[in-house]
């Protein structure tokens, strides 16, 4: 057996010490103690503990037993491939989305919590704008109505748009503040939540968006012009809003919140 075959056999045994893979790995080694079991136990314990650190509110909401089972199932399907454990759960939401029970609000809430916690991690440690100047609200004043419709805004790299079917961030904040982790009926009930995450001065910022603004901001982040983005507005869906006033306020607040680096006239 060459070195590559030995390593592949051993690693399979570490992941599955009780099965055939474990027996094959045991045949390669000598130990006066538990040997392979020490490595196997460390492998699973370390990954589970990392996942608990990375998704604290998902864990608290699910409870340890359910959380560990979800993560173990995920890790069986997605063995870690990166050198940074902080990225361990990058595909966890997608995995839950495929495997969770349908029509169960608690399961959907868990999936959405994973999306939220993963996004917070990525914004916290990803590229930021701390050493760059951002687009100020005053910069919008130079546009004529026509040139404004043709303008394209450049979003900051940290900006994440998140849309949930439950009040995920409210639940998350409540649990992080020491509140009860069991979701309330209010948090389990379908109730759409539209959010942005950004980073300023190395801190993650959350902003709740009015539902009507979501398609506009999404289109802008996709690189579409202001005019194109505004065409996504559904006036009939929001009879309560004075949309002209609201739209102006949205753009000012987005710039003030540091959503954009620049604006170009096409």
């Amino acid at each position: 057996m060459n070195l590559a075959e030995l390593q592949a056999t051993f690693l399979r045994g570490v992941r599955d010490p009780g099965g055939e893979a474990g027996h094959a790995a045991e045949a390669l080694v000598v130990s006066s103690g538990p040997g392979l079991v020490t490595y196997s136990g460390a492998y699973w314990t370390r990954l589970l503990e990392a996942a608990r650190e990375l998704f604290p509110v998902t864990r608290a909401t699910a409870g340890d037993e359910v959380f560990d089972a979800l993560v173990s199932d995920y890790l069986q399907a997605h063995p870690p491939a990166g050198t940074n454990l902080t990225h361990l759960g990058a595909d966890l939401a997608e995995h839950l989305g495929r495997t969770r029970p349908r029509n169960e609000d608690w399961a959907e809430l868990l999936e959405e919590l994973v999306v939220f916690e993963q996004a917070v991690l990525e914004v916290f440690d990803g590229p930021g704008e701390e050493e760059r100047s951002l687009l100020a609200p005053e910069a919008l004043a130079r546009f004529t109505p026509e040139s404004w419709l043709a303008a394209v805004l450049v979003p900051v790299p940290s900006l994440r748009l998140l849309r949930f079917r439950h009040r995920v961030s409210e639940h998350w904040l409540r649990v992080r503040a020491g509140g009860e982790a069991t979701p309330t009926e209010e948090h389990l009930a379908p109730s759409e939540e539209y959010l942005t995450l950004t980073r300023q001065d190395y801190r993650v910022r959350r902003q709740v968006l009015p539902a009507a603004s979501w398609p506009v901001l999404s289109a802008l982040v996709d690189g579409r012009s202001v005019g194109d983005a505004l065409s996504e507005l559904r006036f009939d869906d929001h009879p309560e809003l004075d949309l002209e006033t609201a739209v102006g306020e949205w753009f000012r607040s987005w710039c003030a919140a540091g959503f954009f680096l620049d604006v170009s006239e096409t």
Binding site: A4, L6, G33, E49, E53, A81, V120, F124
Partner: protein
Amino acid sequence: MSGSRAVAPAVTTPRLGLPNLGFGLGLRSPHFPAWLRDGSRSDWIEAISENFMDSRGRPRRLLRELAEQRPVVLHGVALSIGSTDPLDLAYLAALDDLAREVDAPYVSDHLCWTGVGGEVSHDLLPIPRTEEALRHVVGRVGEVQDRLQRRLVLENPSRYLDFKASTLDEPSFLAAVAEEADCGILLDLNNVVVTCRNEGSDPQAFVAALPVERIVQVHVAGHVDLGTHLLDTHDAPVPDQVLGLLRELLERAPELPVLLEWDAQLPTLAELDDELDRVRAAARGETVAASPLERSRSHEGGAPVPQPWPVMTPHWDAPREPDA
């Protein structure tokens, strides 16, 4: 099974010409506020490379800030120098970038492999000590040093088993890698104690068999005795046996950087400073009292996990909670 091996003539420059940094502490994320607020008596810092290489946020900025105050050595856990997978060139580029940024005098990692076939175990897996493995590792160390344009320093990991295929004893293998690849040795004395107890060999003979001029740095730490074996947990004061090995080593090589590792059941930074003072005193040959950190350790809720722990737990002074 394990025989010794003729080693090439030793170099004569201590530490391969690398600096004697003094006594240092491993940087752990829960201590960041204390490092910035109160400082430490530590002469230098060892940072886990993988916790900062990919960071574009607060962790990396804080490391840069600390690097302006005292030397920072980068200590990796995922280079996987013994793996038969190709070297991860993106990983090496990111490591090089970070090493330049903090002006690291050298970078270190472990004489182990961490994964194969694209999978990463996040553990320091033992290498079968064969001629094939030796040739393989020596070639890769050369490539890493060429790419980084700086010295690689390799640490002996703790071991809980051995491969039947091994033909060399561990100190001979470590010495041969260091000599033939022209790299340094990070001698972890706690790992020596753990490995030797687990395989029934002599830790003093292990240390004595190494080419002392290639030892660039020393690790000290604590472990747990599980009866059937020792586990390298980094959650306890440095035991007398490790301090004894340190004293003996420093008689042969009086100017070696010494790093105290502590990863689990983490004391405060001030308590670690006191523990580091205890290590300093022992290194001077003084009789040291039992550490006040020697207390009953709880491993409730699961078996203790061998360290080092490579995840950057997000316990920074500015919590990552989004503003409400």
